[in-house]
């Protein structure tokens, strides 16, 4: 039995989480400030992967990034990037697919902070950016952790999109969830069980960890 699908899955989840953190923080902050029709539409698009079947995303990615026409052809010729059957394709799909898990908790936490917090900081002469990094972010630590862990865990669990655009290539796109599916199809239940047990343990420990941390945090007298 190979452990490469497990490593590949962890790598995919880690890269996706870091990328989403970089994209998600400013985006969640922007969304948390005020409301406009434009913001509502953007937020709806970000949230849609929660309810949209993965096959819809898989289908559109497959069509959009086919190297024979359109964007896929241009990307391949101009930058030599291919998003179907490649690791970067899985990263792209995961970023889209896990985005609501990163943006959601951060945005609602920011909205629940008292306005006075940011106002006090501005009064003391801090810029918006300084206020965000040094005042707001430290105050939403539990939500930040929840967002990071949920994003990571959700990427571990990705299956449908990968099945459609991955091509099941060992060490490139054969992630653990696909390896489980393959072993079951192949009636290799022992191998399926090992992969499943590893995934089960990782996600269980992570989710338990978040619960414990957030509970301890909420109990602190300062909260």
């Amino acid at each position: 039995m190979e452990l490469s699908p497990i490593w590949l899955t962890l790598k995919l989840a880690a890269i996706t989480t870091v990328l989403l953190l970089l994209i998600g923080l400013p985006l969640a902050w922007w969304l948390s400030k005020g409301r406009s029709i434009f913001k509502i539409i953007i937020e709806a698009i970000i949230t849609m992967p929660l309810v949209l079947p993965p096959s819809v995303l898989g289908f559109y990615l497959l069509i959009a990034f086919s190297p024979q026409h359109g964007i896929g052809k241009w990307l391949l010729q101009a930058f030599n990037i291919q998003f179907v059957f490649s690791f970067q394709g899985l990263v792209l799909a995961s970023v889209i697919y896990s985005m609501p898990f990163m943006i959601g908790p951060i945005k609602s936490a920011l909205q629940q902070l008292p306005q006075s917090l940011a106002q006090a900081s501005y009064t003391l002469g801090k810029t918006e950016r300084q206020t965000f990094i040094h005042v707001l972010l430290p105050n939403i630590k539990p939500s930040l952790l929840t967002a990071i862990v949920l994003t990571f865990a959700h990427t571990l669990g990705e299956f449908g999109v990968v099945l459609m655009i991955g091509g099941n290539i060992p060490n490139v796109t054969r992630v653990a969830s696909i390896a489980v599916y393959d072993s079951v199809e192949n009636m290799d239940y022992a191998v399926a069980n090992v992969y499943s047990l590893i995934l089960f343990s990782i996600t269980f420990i992570m989710v338990i960890g978040v619960f414990i941390f957030n509970k301890a945090h909420a109990k602190s007298p300062l909260e």
Binding site: P67, Q68, Q82, G167, N168, D182, V184, E185, N186, M187
Partner: protein, 252 residues
Amino acid sequence: MKTNQFQKRLILLVGCLLISISSFAQIKVAAAANLQGIIKVLKEDFAKKTGIAIDPIIGSSGNLSTQIQNGAPFDVFLSADMNFAQKLFDGGFAQKKPVVYASGSLIICSTQNLGFENWERLLLTPAIKKIAIANPTIAPYGKAAEEALKAKGVLSEIKSKTVYGESIAQVNTYITTSVVEVGFTTQALIKDAANKTTLYYKVIDPKLYSPIQQGMVVLKHGSGNADAEKFYQYILSADAKKIFKEYGYNVD
């Protein structure tokens, strides 16, 4: 008086519901992915001749036989090889030993006219970036493709270009949407896609791979079901054989 009328209506409604449910009790046919096009034609022809409706479930042979072993309520199984059908018989999931109903034919196929005279050399050229084959451990056409590539001595060289479909149906999707330059699939795709996509193909020399003998069994769930038995006989009939031939299968 009013309640009486209400009761009558209710009985009528339940009656209608039961009738509609029973008319849905068609025989369920688990069919390997290479049959996804032809099964519609067979279904129509069978319904015309007998009035019996079948309900096809398409998947890779490996996936379907796993589902059957775990209690899927299928009556007949049309596998893409003898192996999966034989395993079901050995495991007590089928009534009788599997019979061969058709032999499949492997092709190399593309939406582009690449010239397949020397297909093994073509695969090595940089123009070919991705080659789709079905997962060889669960899809018999994938296994045949791997054997043919091995026989031509290019299997290890093209490994980095290979992408695996979970069934021959997914390989067909990859070919017809042009996300791969070439793929190895069933000849049935050609007739199937005739009105939709222009495809270029070459039949792979059958000497390069072990024959894809496709086996059929009546499953335990379908035993004693006269309709299932009729469908089994129909698949082996001259009428069905004619249709199989049209789709590029070999029948004796």
